[in-house]
Symmetry: C2
Subunit: 353 residues, 2 copies
DNA sequence: TTGTAAGCGTTATCAT
DNA sequence: ATGATAACGCTTACAA
């Protein structure tokens, strides 16, 4: 009568060993065929013609044993992992959470896993290497992260940039310049004459374009944006708050502020509230992205909608298409994701001076 | 003089083939040793004693070739992937984004990748299977997701539950009952006498405990929570808004509302604002989690802080410890993550009736 | 149509 | 101390 081991207390030491997985070999034995036949049947390869009879047996056996292929083994064999990576600068920005969510939905449908990595500051290259070690088939990169990676590295990589126009790498992009323009036109239409822009210091084009669209539209209406009205701040609520504080402390306050993203804008609202400055009575604030929070703050934030989930989904679809070798149609309509102004309560008529 | 191929337009058809990776064999050849020796040297196995000389050569060769081991191959060989999965119900809830962020930080440091999957509704089991096919070494599960998976499946799995106390599976948990109690005590101390709770219908214990802590604390002060003051609503801002709307429409309004999470609470604030009900003048609202948004809404939300990043990090650490076979000390201090009340502007003295 | 054989890039178990 | 050799579980020729 075998004795139980003494040491192990029940729940403590169960570091469950890699469960005895059912392999294709097991299925083969049960079905009375060779292992590669199993692979052929289940591989879904349309070329492979197998006798309906054996196919049936194999399927039944697989079913019975609850067989699920080992994707690591498949990956090793095919030199691809059916996994893709995504590198974002800041998971706590809801915009990126939405991008990830959109991408994950598409990818999981297509049989890919999504490896998520957060690249704070300068860790981007090493994070990317870690992903590469796993033979990821491709990678989704945020604009700001991409800016931190050597172009030559990206060239080797099946990368799709998210919300970053580029003619070097495949990408999906929103109409960022239009976003800036819409913000400007909206503020102009409300009679504003004195403006400010708050955005992060970055080379990400989508951000730069938001700024540019704003500035250009103002200029074409005859308004300049003096350099002290162009504030650089981290793309966070805290950053927006601080930048706005400074802006409000200045001699002549702007009455129309456009922020490079909603987080910054929410910070701006906060700073106004801190300073007892009425929004939109004294200052109007426009954000960009239309994250959920925009509808939840008070006053509700006027912003330019950039559908983050859709961007993530599109980026994922594009990547999968390329991986599966489908020729992405160059002139597919809707390449650029349109944006639209969402009027809410943070903007209003400029007070007559 | 070689002619360039005609068909391929430059950027179009570059579906970059799996890049020619450097293998351990390549390193071995360059170093003049056998391939397994390379593995020994780079495997970091302290047991393995190799001549300082050869070690040196191998390291140099690896360096020179830019060798990075193929983790799929390693995984196949070791029957483990050094990847772990996380299944969350809703990426757009910042709480989960923070959990992921905290976990990812810990995991990447420890050499693990994080596969993120969003399990809407009933997809949880299939999502989990997809992860299992990749031989994940373990999985982090949110309470609400875990509730949708058959216990027998979890038993086979190296699971760590996030913010879900359990004596069947390893877990990290916050002091959810204290959260409810703190909310109640806070409202009581402000003189409130009529209360409501809004939370999702779920079996997740951390949620149930928040409710319970609240109810029990009220009761021990002599206050009951009538059933129409206990509203079930989706754990979203929209859910909280709707539930609060109903609550405010009732005959006798509660003056102190505790919400199961901050998203719900923010919705509640919105509903009050919709209805022209002053916060905290007429109604006080307490949330739970202390997501960033709590500080950004107006009025700033009084809430119970539950450090989501820390929960994610702890869950990841616990999982890694188990995987690496370290005996997690049973009675480690701080097993339960303490919570604390954060007083902000959404709560105030009850008006004298 | 299906089985045999080889190979994917590691780690692990032996000899030597 | 290190080199052969054999897995790991799959896919892909190539034979039969």
């Amino acid at each position: 009568m075998p004795r139980l081991p003494e040491a192990a207390s029940p729940a403590e030491s169960v570091i469950s060993p890699p469960q005895n997985r059912v392999t294709a070999m097991d299925v083969a034995r049960l079905a009375g065929v060779s292992q590669p036949t199993v692979s052929l049947v289940l591989g879904g390869n349309p070329q492979a013609r197998i006798a309906p009879d054996t196919r049936e047996r194999v399927l039944r056996a697989a079913e019975e044993l609850g067989y699920r292929p080992n994707l690591l083994a498949r990956g090793l064999s095919q030199r691809r992992s059916y996994a893709i990576g995504i590198l974002v600068p800041d998971l706590s920005n809801p915009f990126f959470a939405d991008v990830i969510s959109g991408a994950e939905r598409v990818l999981s449908r297509a049989g890919y896993a999504l490896l998520v990595s957060e690249a704070s500051d300068d860790s981007a290259p090493s994070r990317l290497e870690a992903l590469q070690s796993r033979l990821i088939d491709g990678v989704l990169l945020d604009a700001t992260v991409a800016a931190m990676i050597a172009p030559s590295v990206l060239d080797e990589l099946n990368v799709v940039l998210v919300d970053e126009p580029s003619d070097r790498w495949p990408n999906v992009a929103s109409d960022a310049e239009a976003a800036g323009r819409l913000a400007a036109e909206h503020l102009l239409s409300l009679g504003h004459q004195s403006f400010a822009f708050i955005g992060p210091a970055t080379t990400a084009r989508s951000i730069r374009l938001r700024e540019r669209g704003f500035v250009v539209a103002l200029r074409s209406s005859g308004f300049m944006l003096p350099s002290d009205r162009l504030r650089r701040a981290p793309a966070t609520a805290a950053g927006g708050r601080e930048a706005t504080r400074a802006l409000l402390a200045g001699r002549r306050r702007p009455t129309g502020i456009f922020c490079a993203n909603d987080l910054i804008a929410v910070g701006a609202l906060k700073a106004c509230s801190d300073a007892g400055v009425g929004v939109p009575a004294q200052v109007s604030v426009v954000g960009c992205d239309d994250i959920e929070m925009a509808r939840l703050v008070t006053p509700e934030l006027t912003t330019v909608e950039v559908r983050a989930r859709e961007l993530g989904a599109r980026a994922a679809r594009l990547l999968v298409q390329r991986l599966e070798g489908e020729q992405p149609r160059r002139s597919r309509p809707g390449r650029v994701l349109p944006v639209r102004l969402v009027r809410r309560a943070s903007t209003g008529e400029a007070r007559v001076a």
